[in-house]
């Protein structure tokens, strides 16, 4: 019998062999392939139809689309919580079908849309410990991971609070931190900015930027087009369980794609609209927009 809580079938997390050290070198980041995946929920809702995507290691990908378009369903295929009824999901070219979720969780971290369906521990740091513990992390490294995850979302001051005494936005950040502490090479966030004020959004942006800088793959579902345009290099638009658009923000938010976006009940972000009017493309910098406006009406 193994020591309580340890899980012999989950491979040790990268770097855990060096007690107390924070792995500066990222574990291997897998490529993700979604091959013609279809999925229907048991009671018959067809949530995905023939979805194909290839996500390279280190990519930052935003998934957008109206409510019920299948975004959450799609990401739950990437860590094996849902198994496709048609097609395959591959990590590094290997079908994930035979792999247990507990195994996949070491490689693909997923923070759920609704924190209240994720949080369960009696206090904040226990909640954050849960994931790394399941990966076999103990002792100094565990403490370090908790501290860093708390700091990343600005919850250091409430480490001993009960999660349910925090407001919604902080519970949501806690759910994010609890996945962050697992240091998975792939990080998936389901609507991380929903319910956040400007400071919360900035924290989430910071988390995404840092994970991306470390070379991790970051996938986020969002309805916040500004967040999407600013933080992600690739945008996938889903409509009725299919991929409607897929490309860099400059293409997906370009004027030519607006009819398609609007058919998916999405509005291009304001900078994209301004950029198009000012001839600056779909992803102008704030500075460029201000400069163009200051240059006077000739440019408009």
């Amino acid at each position: 019998m193994t020591s309580p809580g340890s899980n012999p079938r989950v491979p040790p997390a990268p770097g855990s062999n060096v007690p107390g050290s924070i792995p500066r070198v990222l574990p291997h980041v897998p490529s993700i392939e979604v091959e013609a995946v279809s999925f229907a929920y048991p009671e018959g809702t067809r949530a995905l139809t023939d979805v194909s995507l290839r996500i390279e290691p280190g990519e930052t990908l935003a998934i957008v689309g109206q409510n019920g378009s299948g975004k959450s369903t799609l990401v739950r295929h990437l860590n094996g919580l849902l198994r496709p009824t048609g097609g395959r999901v591959l990590l590094d070219g290997a079908d994930v079908r035979p792999v247990h979720v507990a195994h996949l969780a070491a490689r693909v971290g997923l923070a759920f849309q609704n924190p209240d369906r994720q949080l369960f521990a009696g206090h904040v740091s226990a909640e954050i410990e849960f994931g790394p513990r399941n990966l076999g992390i103990r002792g100094a490294e565990l403490a370090e991971r908790v501290a860093l995850a708390l700091a990343a979302v600005g919850l250091e001051s409430v480490a001993t609070a009960n999660p349910y005494d925090l407001g919604y936005s902080r519970r949501k950040l806690l759910a994010l931190a609890s996945v962050l502490a697992m240091r998975t090479p792939v990080l998936i966030l389901d609507e991380p900015t929903t319910g956040q004020d400007a400071r919360g959004v900035a924290r989430v942006q910071d988390v995404v930027a840092r994970a991306a800088a470390e070379g991790r793959t970051v996938i986020a579902i969002s309805h916040d087009m500004r967040f999407v345009a600013e933080c992600f290099r690739r945008v996938v638009v889903m409509r009725a369980g299919r991929v409607a658009l897929d490309g860099p923000p400059s293409a997906v938010f370009a004027e030519a794609a607006w009819p398609e976006l609007r058919a998916s009940y999405l509005e291009p972000p304001l900078p994209a609209v301004a950029g198009a009017r000012l001839g600056l493309g779909a992803t102008p910098t704030g500075g460029a927009v201000v400069a163009a406006l200051a240059a006077g009406p000739r440019n408009r």
Binding site: V101, A102, G131
Partner: protein, 262 residues
């Protein structure tokens, strides 16, 4: 009734045997069955009730739903059996001796009977769930003049069951996404699942509380008569069944009380 002129998507009546029976009638029938399961002596109670529920479910084509329900009840059924089999106080007719353990015949019979009673009364209630939509039940109760608070309590309680199941499933998924092993040994799984009971119940309660406030915000308890969009069927058969069940219920209780006194 003027209601029959409403478009189909508003009135969408349930169809099929027992499913279209009046919800209030079904409630009284279920109440009768629950009482019968406990008040009729020995094996008669559970046997009669189980037979009645199964027959009704079969004709209403709800046997599968009932089977799922039975499966969900199997852990508690198993533990009742085991506890009685080994630990029935005063039982002294051992079936065999297994080291320190001595399962007894009387324990086995008593356990089986308890389980049969439990299944009989709970499947009677489950059958109401399986054949009735919440809207119909609430509309019928309100038409019968039940107060709004009472209707809300019934509605919230009834809706909490599927909501709680759904919530529990997602909470479990969220922990699996964080590496909780749900595919390993039973004891390990159980240990992982137990701490989740808290948020499941807590969340369900919060949801009900929020719904109460949302209802209040929409003037739920404002005085005056409510307009009902759906009016469940209440034909001659429904009324006959209702009164028959009520009579049987009163008779059953009466006989038991008389038996005690006599």
């Amino acid at each position: 009734m003027s209601m029959t002129r409403l478009p189909d998507y508003v009135v969408r009546r349930p169809s099929g045997f027992y499913r279209s029976t009046n919800p209030g009638t079904k409630l009284v029938v279920a109440a009768l069955e629950v009482l019968a399961a406990f008040l009729l002596p020995g094996w008669i109670g559970p046997a009669v009730v189980l037979a009645a529920v199964l027959a009704t479910a079969a004709v209403a084509r709800r046997l599968r739903g009932l089977a799922t329900f039975g499966l969900a009840a199997s852990p508690i059924v198993g533990s009742i059996l085991l506890v009685n089999l080994f630990l029935l106080p005063g039982a002294s007719d051992p079936i065999a001796r297994l080291g320190p353990l001595a399962p007894t015949w009387s324990g086995l019979w008593f356990g089986l009977q308890t389980v049969a009673r439990l299944l009989a009364f709970s499947s009677a209630i489950a059958l109401v769930y399986l054949t009735t939509t919440v809207d119909d039940l609430l509309a019928d109760l309100s038409r019968r003049g039940l107060g709004r608070r009472a209707i809300f309590v019934v509605g919230a309680a009834v809706q909490m069951v599927p909501l709680t199941i759904e919530r529990a499933g997602e909470i479990l998924d969220a922990q699996r996404a964080r590496g909780m092993d749900t595919e390993g040994r039973i004891w390990r799984r159980a240990r992982g699942v137990l701490p989740l009971a808290g948020p499941v119940v807590f969340g369900a309660l919060t949801e009900v509380e929020e719904r109460t406030m949302a209802l209040e915000a929409r003037a739920f308890s404002a005085p005056g008569r409510k307009t009902l969009l759906r009016v469940p069927r209440n034909g001659r058969i429904d009324r006959f069944l209702l009164w028959a069940a009520l009579l049987a219920l009163v008779a059953l209780v009466g006989i038991r009380v008389a038996g005690r006194l006599g």
